[in-house]
Symmetry: C2
Subunit: 120 residues, 2 copies
């Protein structure tokens, strides 16, 4: 069984809940990138970008390597994999529900018809 309550999952999903950070991850998936380059597409200060990177780092989603004054960021797969593993717990549920959606509607329809009959 996969864990429900872990601070790491909190931080991971929390980090993913912001469009700026999701875009940064997308950019990082193309290869390692420095802070200034990560900041370029975003209309915000470097300080704000630095904070976002801090969030991503604290969630373990990126790793930082200092090369002189330039910090090189790389994507770390583990937390996203954990997040997907958590979501995967529900896949069976989805599949089951989607399979039976048509029949569910039919049953609902039948139930309501019976209800109408009872009312009259």
């Amino acid at each position: 069984m996969v864990e429900y309550s872990s601070e790491l999952l909190d931080r991971t999903f929390g980090a993913l809940a912001d469009p700026t950070r999701r875009q940064m991850l997308a950019q990082l998936s193309a290869g390692e990138t420095c802070v200034t380059d990560l900041a370029r597409p975003h209309a915000m200060s470097l300080a704000a970008v630095s904070k976002h990177l801090g969030v991503l780092e604290k969630a373990g989603l990126v790793k930082r390597q200092r090369n002189g004054r330039v910090h090189s960021l790389t994507l770390e797969p583990k937390p996203m994999q954990d997040a997907q593993a958590w979501l995967d717990q529900y896949r069976k549920f989805w599949d089951a529900n989607l399979d039976s959606f048509a029949t569910y509607l039919e049953k609902l329809q039948k139930k309501e018809t019976q209800q109408d009959d009872a009312d009259q």
Copy 2:
């Protein structure tokens, strides 16, 4: 290509970033449940539970059906599927990186050895 910046993804990941709400989703995956039953496992007021349900509802993760004074909550698969689809964009990246992890370590080892040689 899957979207990066959507308010729905914001809300979905945001909703998933809390252990209470994740546990509620887990409970709901066993079948539809009313508010009081969802509250039972949690050491907090009903008002707090009500707020959490509001968050899940706003993210589209649960649907509410009023049966008299009892509200029946059910899981809605779509937003979780979307979240997983977003994460899936990175699967190729992970696989690639994991495949080459051993060789990466080797390269790193070699690089450090060279560095040591240079230092001496």
